[in-house]
Amino acid sequence: MEEVYPLKQIIDDHGNLVDKSSKSLITRELVQKAYYHMYRIRTFDKKAKSLQRQGRIGTYPPFEGQEAAQVGSALALEENDWLFPTYRDHGAMLTFGADMTRTFLYWNGRLEGCQPPEGKHIFPAAVPIATQILHAVGASWAEKRKGTKNIAIAYFGDGATSEGDFHEGLNFASVFQTPTILFNQNNGYAISVPFERQMNSKTVAQKGIAYEIPSIRVDGNDFFAVYFAMQEATRRARTGGGPTLIEAVTWRTGAHTTADDPTKYRPDGIGKDIVDPLLRLERMMKNEGYWDEEFIQSTRERIEEEIDDAVKAMESYPKAKPEDMFDHVFAELPEQLVKQKESYLQLLRGE
């Protein structure tokens, strides 16, 4: 099936344009946007890892190596689309407009981290694997019913394809022809379980055949391959063509989470030949004449400042209130819960 679903590339590891037909579609604006966002989320990810090491946030699942997949997909969305991420997709969320302070707050165990900016449709990261796929299908189905052109994207990993909800989600999307992008980041591992033990198929893309869902397999470390595949898929979705399954083949450079030790299960040297997606983009920018020192420098400075501010804001955020544990379970608290809350708050107040 790899022949049926060849790995679509626009730029190669050396940053050379291998698909010349795309040249005209690549603008300076697009390249700079890609660079800005990939550099931004890379820096965010680094900062998060270092905050975790210092005990300033909790366990954190880094997405290093997956920036092209996350930025390439999120940049292809429109303002009113819906994004349904996993715990590893904060890069995509940030690119699509999530607030950075709140993203840090999320990893600090704060509910506030689940709230998207007003008017923005970004769901909290799904923790139970694959469950969010159905939500994306449902939300995009609602858009279709309302007659809008809005779509939803569900992010999920290679491991997620083994869950029943993956299957049920794709079947619903197909039967009801919902405008849903099923965006798989095949990063080679589900914690310690490698792709080839997760499934006996060589691709995720071929699973689309089971549902007659068009699918494509792209080099997930190639921003342009992801972005253009997404453009085709979103166009199809917005014009009544139904769902698309995109397999973005990428690589988790680091550990599953900061609590994980990949040396336990990853063969030595594995993945060493994989060229970092940001480096690939930089090479392409140099090769194709998009490298602009001044833009690079100002971008980097701006980002570093933004991140420092966000960390400060996270750390000076008002403390979590025990009330919040009670107040949002229902629109209106039932009497029992009022009693439980009151008696606990009394105890806290020393009454």
């Binding site: 819906w82 509910l111 506030e112 689940c114 709230q115 998207p116 769901f123 909290p124 923790v127 139970p128 469950t131 796929i133 159905l134 939500h135 994306a136 299908v137 449902g138 939300a139 995009s140 189905w141 609602a142 858009e143 019913r145 309302k146 939803a152 029943g164 909800d165 049920e168 989600g169 079947n171 619903f172 039967v175 919040d324 107040d327 949002h328 379970v329 229902f330 629109a331 209106e332 039932p334 009497e335 029992q336 819960l337």
Partner: protein, 335 residues
């Protein structure tokens, strides 16, 4: 319907299943954001005819036959609900809700809290439940405890046609997810006058079905008529039972229970689900918490045994019987 006043409220003498159908029709008419989805709910009108005629009336777009996929039904309903719609999802039998348990436990019930109210899931899940109709295995489970123990979802269970329609409309109006349990044994077992119009029965409020002074019988669903019968029988022997139909299983009407038990000093809880972990234990706890000093006898529980609901040849042995309820009443009286 004897006085001129009450005649002004148009009613129909209908069964519970008709009242449920009527409730859905009423809401589909008034609120364009509502929709029905589930297995066989459309063309077939539901395996119990709960949605009979609704697809014809409101179209395939409002009353939707889904694939055979409970997690799919509930998971997509989450997406529909957070995006402005009000799905009424049918699970064909409560014993088939388990494949959707993950979606209900981790999302349906938690999304409001998780997002501090930014997103909510105004979803109604309808599920026929209970034994006594000689259905095949698994079809007869009473699984309310799996949901009353789940923070973030309400659980209601009507015992009469009137309450069935009123509670269903209230559930659909509710801004939060509601599990609406339908005692299938009562679907067609009796009729009642039910207003043809829109009305609601408040969620969270039980109902005293019979007033009495000697012992409080607490129950819900298909057990209500049975318990009423027993109450009427023992009345002949001079025992004066108060019968409470809980109607809402979460949040439970603690006030009603406490008030009654404080009067009678004795209580028997009757339910179909297995004893251990059954809602009966919560009711015992509520009485312990609120009415300890009033109790004249230990509370009795008459329930399903701690066994899976058996095959149909034995289901009548599993279900609470008048004899078992009787004995429990005697026990609390004679203590």
């Amino acid at each position: 319907m004897t006085t001129e006043y009450t005649e002004r409220i148009a009613t129909k003498n209908i069964t519970m299943i008709q009242a449920i159908n009527d409730g859905m029709r009423t809401v589909l008419e008034r609120d364009p954001t509502t929709l029905i989805l589930g297995e066989d709910v459309g063309k077939n009108g539901g395996v119990f005819r709960a949605t009979d005629g609704l697809q014809e009336e409101f179209g395939e777009d409002r009353v939707i036959d889904t694939p055979l996929s409970e997690s799919g039904i509930i998971g997509t309903s989450v997406g529909l609900a957070v995006n402005g719609l009000k799905p009424i999802a049918e699970i064909q039998f409560m014993g088939f809700i388990y494949p959707a348990y993950d979606q209900i436990m981790t999302h349906v019930s938690r999304i409001r809290m998780r997002t501090m109210g930014r997103y909510s899931v105004p979803l109604v899940i309808r599920a026929p439940f209970g034994a006594g109709v000689r259905a095949p295995e698994i079809h007869s489970d009473s699984a309310e405890s799996l949901f009353t123990h789940m923070p973030g979802i309400k659980v209601v269970c009507p015992a009469t046609p009137y309450d069935a329609k009123g509670l269903l409309i209230a559930a659909i109006e509710d801004p939060d997810p509601v599990l609406y349990m339908e005692p299938m044994h009562s679907y067609r077992s009796f009729r009642e006058e039910v207003p043809t119009d829109y009305y609601t029965v408040e969620i969270g409020k039980g109902k005293k079905r019979i007033e009495g002074n000697d012992v409080t019988l607490i129950t819900w669903g298909a057990m209500v008529p049975l318990v009423e019968k027993v109450a009427n029988q023992v009345k002949g022997r001079g025992i004066d039972c108060e019968v409470i139909d809980l109607r809402t299983l979460y949040p439970i009407d603690e006030g009603l229970i406490a008030e009654s038990v404080q009067k009678t000093g004795r209580a028997v809880v009757i339910h179909e689900a297995p004893k251990t972990g059954g809602l009966g234990s919560d009711i015992v706890s509520i009485i312990n918490d609120t009415s300890f000093l009033y109790l004249k006898a230990p509370i009795e529980r008459v329930s399903g045994f701690d066994v899976p609901v058996p095959f149909s040849s034995l289901e009548n042995h599993y279900l609470p019987t008048p004899e078992r309820i009787n004995r429990a009443i005697e026990k609390v009286i004679d203590f």
